[in-house]
């Protein structure tokens, strides 16, 4: 396959550009910014970019101010000539088979054409193999995946579409989607676990609620039973209480009536008794004079006076008697007194004579005189006394007479009074008076009591009352008998009443509780069915969990074994690649390195140094130039492998900038050798390649 010519319109810096290429090495020379890279890009776009879908992405590569661009590539292959036209404005892309006059216009037909003719239909793969750009020698490792797929396809003879990478990626994606953790976007297992946790919580909560509901239901049964028992006992006890109350009431009424009856009866009896007493009292004083109190008082007064007068009389009589005696005793005093007076004067003369004659005799005579004086005084005094006594006697005698007279008057008065009542003596009178008085008093008392007992009513009324009470009593007795005639112990009645009260309160409370529980049960909602729903969801959740867990295991095993199968295949691929690269490497390094081995996963490599007799790791020991040499070899080997019998063109865009003169020389020896089979388009700003060029095109 060879590019004969390229025409570019409005692409990059080219408004119009045409170039023709020949077989072998075409060195396209130009200074920096001359358009070398634009030309490489235009060729790649002309080959690989879909003009329909990639128009927008290519827009910035259009010439400034242009709406679109066109690329034409004329190709010649063993089976004919082809014109590749791409119009990035209209989207038209067509391959004209000049030999068969056929056109290929779809992306699929383009890809098929490129696959058939150059063995590469993918721009990335092209970049990794046939298109070596400056500083992009290592693009081969960037495209390791695609290369591996392609190599697998080559190794497996193209019998199957190589989808292992996609399948493994897809399985890994599925595994990740199943098992990935993280709160933001967790995998299905985590989501199921979270859901299971929530469901478990809801199930436990609902189960608890249901248990509570069941407990409430049980409680309701208990409460109903308590309520029934309470109501039953309450009814029974209330009935009994009513009976007892009636009995007790009858009993009380009976007692009261009995008391009332007894009271009335006793009053009535007392009245009768009182009446009898009054009659008896009246009989007692019947015929007895009714003595005026004044008369009694007069009698008392007269008797007192009489007693006084009698006592006075007695005293006066005694006094009279005494006085008489006294008077009689002092009868001779007068004579005696006369004699004395004579004697006195005699003595007095004697005294005076004696005093004059003899003092002693005078003294004795004086004594006699004094005695005589005393004696005379005494006699005088007795005479006076006698006179007084006589006067007193007269007075007393007069008093005696008066007393006698008063006594007589008093007796007369007394007798008048006694006569008035035909009574014999005052004692009798007083007795009668006392008797009548006391009896009257008793009658009065009895009458008062009687009046009091009657209470202002007359006896008939009282009797009527008594009769009424007696009648009531009979009725109540009858009623009492009708309620069993029970004797109700007030304590027992109180106990019963308290019990009824308690039962009533219990009934109210229990009814309230009943209503509350019933309400709670009513509002408890669809708990049981809701629980079933949650159980079903949980069961479903677990089944999904099992399913995804199982799927995960299946995916993992599948991915792992596809990987194993792939590794088995890659082993052969790697061996092929290593052989091919080793051959080129030996040439390009002048046998400094003659073997290479690739990492099966990333195409990283190590090379064998015969000098060192050891493998050298690319990253650690090799210079950049050597690494580029190895990658160049790998690219050439890959191209050889990928292209097979097909001989595509090779584009080298100043690839050897890191090579020294020897390496460049060696590389060009190899390139020159390759250019026998492959057309080479070498873009450079150097003249160093002119000597190896079959054509030199100056930009």
């Amino acid at each position: 396959m060879k590019i004969n010519n390229v025409s570019i319109n409005n692409f990059g810096k080219f408004s119009e550009f045409n170039a023709e290429f020949g077989s072998g090495i075409n060195v396209i020379k130009g200074a920096n910014e001359a358009g070398k890279s634009t030309l490489v890009e235009a060729i790649k776009a002309g080959l690989f970019v879909d003009s329909k879908s990639k128009k927008k992405t290519l827009k910035d590569r259009f010439k400034w101010g242009a709406e679109g661009a066109k690329v034409y590539i004329g190709l010649s292959a063993e089976d004919g000539e082809y014109d590749l036209n791409k119009d990035f404005l209209s989207g038209v892309q067509v391959i004209e088979d000049k030999q068969n006059y056929s056109r290929m216009e779809t992306k699929e037909s383009w890809d098929k054409f490129l696959e058939n003719e150059i063995g590469i239909s993918d721009a990335d793969l092209f970049n990794a193999t046939a298109c070596v750009r400056q500083d992009e020698m290592e693009d081969i490792s960037k495209s390791s995946d695609i290369l591996r797929d392609r190599l697998e396809g080559i190794i497996t003879g193209g019998q199957e579409e190589v989808v292992a990478s996609k399948v493994i990626n897809d399985l890994n994606k599925r595994i990740s989607e199943i098992k990935k953790e993280g709160a933001k976007d967790p995998g299905i297992l985590k989501r199921l676990e979270d859901e299971a946790e929530n469901l478990t919580y809801e199930i436990e909560k609902l189960t608890r609620e249901l248990e509570e509901t069941e407990a409430r239901r049980g409680e309701l049964v208990d409460v109903t039973s308590i309520l029934d028992n309470t109501i039953s006992e309450l009814n029974e006890k209330s009935e009994l209480l009513e009976k007892w109350d009636a009995a007790h009431k009858a009993q009380l009424e009976l007692t009261q009536l009995e008391e009332k009856y007894n009271d009335l009866k006793s009053r009535f009896d007392e009245i009768e008794e009182s009446q009898k007493k009054v009659i008896s009292y009246r009989e007692q004083i019947y015929g007895k004079p009714e003595i005026l109190k004044r008369d009694i008082e007069n009698i008392d007064e007269l008797e007192t006076k009489l007693r006084y007068l009698q006592s006075k009389l007695s005293d006066n009589e005694n006094d009279e008697k005494i006085l008489k005696n006294e008077v009689s005793k002092v009868k001779g005093i007068g004579l005696f007194a006369g004699l004395n007076v004579v004697n006195f004067f005699f003595i007095l003369g004697c005294f005076a004579a004696g005093f004059l004659i003899e003092p002693i005799v005078a003294a004795g005579s004086g004594f006699f005189i004094i005695t005589q004086i005393v004696f005379v005084v005494m006699v005088w005094k007795r005479s006076a006394e006698r006179a007084a006594l006589k006067s007193q006697l007269r007075f007393t005698s007069k008093r005696v007479e008066e007393n006698k007279s008063e006594i007589e008057n008093s007796c007369k008065a007394i007798n008048e009074i006694l006569e008035k009542y035909s009574l014999k003596n005052t004692t009798n009178m007083k007795d009668v008076y006392e008797l009548v008085e006391s009896t009257q008093r008793k009658i009065h008392e009895e009458t008062s009591r009687y009046e009091h007992l009657l209470g202002g009513k007359n006896q008939k009324v009282l009797q009527g009352q008594l009769e009424a009470v007696t009648k009531d009593l009979a009725l109540v007795r009858e009623r009492s008998q009708s309620v069993g005639g029970l004797f109700i112990d007030p304590n027992e009645l109180l106990k019963l009443r308290t019990r009824v009260q308690e039962l009533s309160e219990t009934k109210i409370k229990t009814e309230e509780k009943f209503r509350l529980i019933s309400h709670q049960l009513e509002v408890s909602g669809g708990g049981a069915e809701e629980l079933s729903t949650f159980h079903e969801r949980f069961e479903h959740n677990r089944s999904m969990f099992e399913r995804y867990n199982h799927n995960q295991q299946v995916y993992m095993i599948t991915a792992s074994l596809i990987e194993t199968a792939r590794a088995n295949i890659l082993k052969a691929t790697a061996e092929l690649l290593e052989n091919k690269v080793g051959k080129y490497l030996s040439d390009i390094t002048n046998d400094r390195y003659n073997k290479i081995r690739f990492d099966k996963t990333n195409l990283d490599f190590s090379v064998y140094s015969p000098d060192k007799r050891d493998w050298v790791n690319s990253e650690d020991l090799l210079s950049r130039g050597t690494i580029d040499q190895v990658y160049l070899c790998a690219r050439l080997a890959l191209l050889e492998i990928l292209a097979g019998e097909r001989k595509p063109f090779l584009i080298l865009d100043d690839p050897f900038v890191h090579f020294d003169a020897d390496r460049t020389k060696n590389a060009m020896v190899v390139i020159k050798e390759i250019s026998k089979d492959y057309q080479v388009l070498l873009f450079t700003n150097s003249d160093n390649y002119d000597q190896n060029a079959d054509q030199v095109i100056q930009l």
Binding site: E214, G526, A528, E536, I562
Partner: protein
Amino acid sequence: MPQIIHTADIHLGMKFSGLGRTGKLLRTHLKNAFSSIVDITIEKNADCLVIAGDLFDSNQISDSTVNFVIGEITRLQTIPVIIIPGTHDPSSNPIWRSFKEKELPANLHLILSDEHIPLTFSEIDTTFWVKPNQESNLLESPIPELKDKSLSKYHIAIAHGSLAVPGIESQDGYTFQHEEISQAGFDYVALGHWHSVKQLNELNAYYCGTPEQSRFGLKDCGKILSVDVNDSGVNIEQIQTGKTQWHDLTLSTEVMKSPGDIIKELGTYTGDTSLVRCVIEGGQIHGVNFDADILKDELEEGFAYIGITDKTIADDIKMLLANYTAVTITGQFVQVMTERIENASPDMKDILEESLKLGCRLLIGNKSDKQL
């Protein structure tokens, strides 16, 4: 001549295992079926509605469902409703306790014990005889004895239990012999327990089936019986009440050549009340990355429930190895997998076989899962 509506096994509040979120919907359908029964009873002006056991599925019934049942029975006004306990809701079931706590309509005759038996309705000259199931599984016959024929002209037995199948010893409770019914002398025996409509050997004894299907694999259900008892026997009319359709499908890849064929076939069963359990069997569908889980997820919206089980078998390994030699990745994969399967434990073998199937499907099938 009495006309009764005979139903049983409504299983209100039933828990549906393995159907996920559909359970809630199905419980609503059970309630709807009960409402339909009441509607039909009113519409037909039947003399009595007989529920021959298992009105409730368990004791795990909410108060709202109990209230719903009472409300529906109340709608029947004076039409008597006779409910007997079944094996799921025997007399000992606490649900009846909560039932009794409610203010029950006068037309409801809940027969939980022998107390109210027999039940005679003079206006239809009929006596109902019941031997209520006390526990969920007692080894005794549920068929009552017709003790007094003079009570009325017609005598109907209501029972919940299984007819003993000759030659098969059953540990199930409440089984009865054919002779018990043939010799009992009832004009009609209203049976419950079997979920399909069934007449017992030309006797006037019928299982009415469940008024709403509640599991896969049942036939002749979702109905109630309208029974006219007359001097010459009984006239039975089956009336559809069930709204759900349960489809057990087996699709073979020999007929279903592509997932499109499967989707097209399943599409004929779509509906809000449609439940589908589909098994896909046969060889794998070639050239297609067929995934039953993805198919189920995509179709789910069109059904009340859909379950798809992929029981297709991995294509013949020799054929695979012939077409995809060991030089290919698929060939290598099959070879490695086959070796593993040969040496695997039984549990692991299943997983490995599934992995083999999946790997082949993905490697040979189209590049995209979405290309069903």
